[in-house]
């Protein structure tokens, strides 16, 4: 087992980092060995591929447990299930499943998410209105508890739902079984529609949910902030397409010397081009359709050394008026978002800390250097909570700890289940400290 000296680690937003040791585990026995030696002091935290944006996968002064070597995949084509290790990525699972004309029913915007991370954040994708979040397709998970005991948890167990969305704070997710869905080919039939403003976008998404398995919209939050954009609607396709096989998905963004290239001017120009681009209508490779973010590796470097933050929240259906106030505020700050995404969620999962629930979810990216942004978002958080909305913790690096129980009213239930799974408080993260989660 390799354990490094303390090294700086940051989330995908690169807006801050913290020093921690990193233990690479290549077997379940090694994980148990690590636990036997562990001291509670600054604790342990299982981590995946660090695609969480803020401090969910950081543990300052403690140890991170890298599970990427636990990456086995066993597909049962008859049952239509996959048994996967915690370190297996969504991308690897998709490739293996497609060989049997199967596909994971819930995949996020990037394929570089580990199975452990997908459970710990209860991730969602463009199919949420039909399939719900990732936990909805899981049959069981195997978890290594702080005591060293390995337990198999089912959706009938409270501990299962505490681990789903539990941010790695209940134990090490070692393995899980999930249901796959049948697909005819490796493609999607996609239709894109340009819309002139937010109300047209909302209307089209509402109307399309019944007919399309996947719906999402790119929203332009620059210029006049009216929320024009492109709605993307898709279903699993029937036509086989050729895809590049192997490692990397695309070119890497080179290191650009710490400068931030995301300014109102560049975002305005990019968004104008993106809005005017030729619309897709037809067959697209599934992996390209599902993971548009993977087109350029390390795209997060474009924000330079100061990094960026992602703000994702959900608000009930009917509460859309809050968007107007948000857009007006962002416009006055001249805060232009390079990546705005709107999606309508379906049913919630029973996990106390799971983010998705019925309503609208909006995702925005901003460099941390926008003057006045910190104060504005603090004010908007309060408005959001007053309107019954909440923020996605796996994206967060900045909300006030006092708002967490208002956003996640079942957190007390989660805390009490968690404390039975980890009475001494071995599992720790910077986010848990900042938001006083445990």
């Amino acid at each position: 087992m390799l354990i490094t000296d303390p090294i700086p680690v940051s989330g995908w937003g690169r807006n801050f980092s913290s020093l921690s040791k990193r233990a690479s585990i290549s077997s379940i026995e090694q994980a148990q060995e690590l636990l036997a030696q562990a001291k509670v002091a600054r604790g342990l935290l299982p981590v995946g591929l660090h695609r969480s944006y803020g401090d969910s996968a950081l543990n300052s002064g403690g140890t991170l447990i890298d599970l990427s070597a636990l990456n086995g995949i066993l597909i049962d084509p008859v049952a239509g299930t996959a048994t996967v290790g915690a370190g297996t990525t969504i991308r690897e699972l998709e490739q293996a499943a497609l060989e049997h004309s199967l596909f994971p029913p819930v995949v996020p915007g990037t394929g570089f998410v580990s199975m452990g991370g997908a459970v710990a954040a209860d991730i969602h994708g463009k199919s949420h209105h039909k399939t719900g979040s990732f936990s909805q397709c899981i049959n069981w998970i195997k978890v290594l508890l702080a005591s060293g005991q390995i337990v198999q948890l089912f959706p009938t167990d409270d501990e299962f739902w505490a681990t789903v969305g539990g941010l790695g704070l209940t134990g090490i997710i070692l393995e899980l079984e999930l249901n796959l869905r049948e697909v005819i080919s490796n493609s999607a039939d996609v239709r894109e529609v340009r819309v002139k403003d937010l109300s047209a976008m909302v209307e089209l998404l509402r109307r399309s949910d019944a007919d399309y398995e996947h719906t999402v919209a790119w929203i332009d939050l620059s210029g006049d902030y009216r929320g024009r954009g492109v709605v993307s609607l898709g279903n699993y396709g029937s036509q086989k397409v050729k895809v590049r096989s192997g490692g990397s998905s695309g070119p890497s963004l080179p290191s650009i010397g710490g400068a931030n290239f995301i300014t109102p001017l560049t975002v305005g120009a990019f968004n104008e081009l993106w809005f005017r681009k030729p619309l897709k209508h037809g067959t697209v490779a599934l992996n390209k359709y599902m993971h548009p973010l993977d087109g350029v590796n390390n795209w997060n470097r474009i924000y330079g050394d100061a990094g960026f933050l992602q703000y994702q929240f959900v608000i009930d259906e009917g509460g859309e008026e809050i968007f107007e106030r948000l857009f007006a505020g962002l416009r006055s700050l001249k805060a232009a978002s390079f990546l705005g995404v709107l999606k309508k969620f379906g049913a919630a999962s029973p996990a106390p800390l799971s983010f998705p629930r019925p309503g609208w979810t909006l995702t925005l990216d901003y460099p941390t250097t926008v003057p006045g942004l910190e104060k504005f978002l603090q004010g908007f958080d309060e408005e959001l909570v007053a309107a019954g909305g909440r923020i996605y913790l796996i994206k967060d690096s900045r909300i006030s700890h006092s708002l967490v129980p208002l956003m996640y009213p079942e957190i007390e239930k989660w805390r009490s289940i968690r404390s039975t799974m980890d009475p001494a408080g071995l599992w720790q993260s910077d986010q848990a400290r900042r938001l006083r989660l445990c």
Binding site: G61, E374, R398
Partner: protein, 233 residues
Amino acid sequence: MLNGFKNPGRVALIGGQSEIGLSIVTQLPEDKSREIILIGRTGKYALDVTDKQARERVIRELFDAGDVDLVVIAVGLLGNDSKLSTTENLLAAIDVNFLSTVHLLELISDRMKQQAHGTILVISSFAQVRPRDDNFRYGSTKAGLDFYARGLASTLKGSGVTLKILRPGFVKSKMTEGMEIAPFAITVQECGKYGVAALKSRDLVTWAPSILKYVALIFKSLPPSVFRKISHR
């Protein structure tokens, strides 16, 4: 913990009544969720800084209750040397400004190294630049502290912990009421701004006001006879 804008969430001010200290912690970028802990003669973390056991206990309790992102150390006995010319007053100033503060820095930096993050802001003084007849006693206590703090800052490299030094000149405050106002005097509010800037600065030392950096260079380079004349103004 720091938030995503790199601003501190849990802050402690040692010298909870210090006007400069309060001015710094209240001018940090606004954040309603920030917890500011005032460590002074009264309150939850009451501390007599000259009591060694009390220092150990309070720092232990402070860090046991949660990670601390920023500690501002603003304890100090000020006085021109007519006040510090009695042995008793001089020893008290050495105790507070140097001995006790150095011990606090040892305790705090140890706990911050364990959490692998945190910032310490030490308030030094322009008075430590060069001994002047009218305040070398006070200046020497700050010179000792400043020297120690620079050494400690160097050893903290790579630990995740940073230490910054603020060197104010004459600050118009309750503590300096009745004293003759020196050139480049600033208000408490202004001094607080320099303190906040020190936290984000790449430099170990921040002068308040900035021009004192150059005044200090001149002071150091003057021949003793000229320096005496100037400092006797």
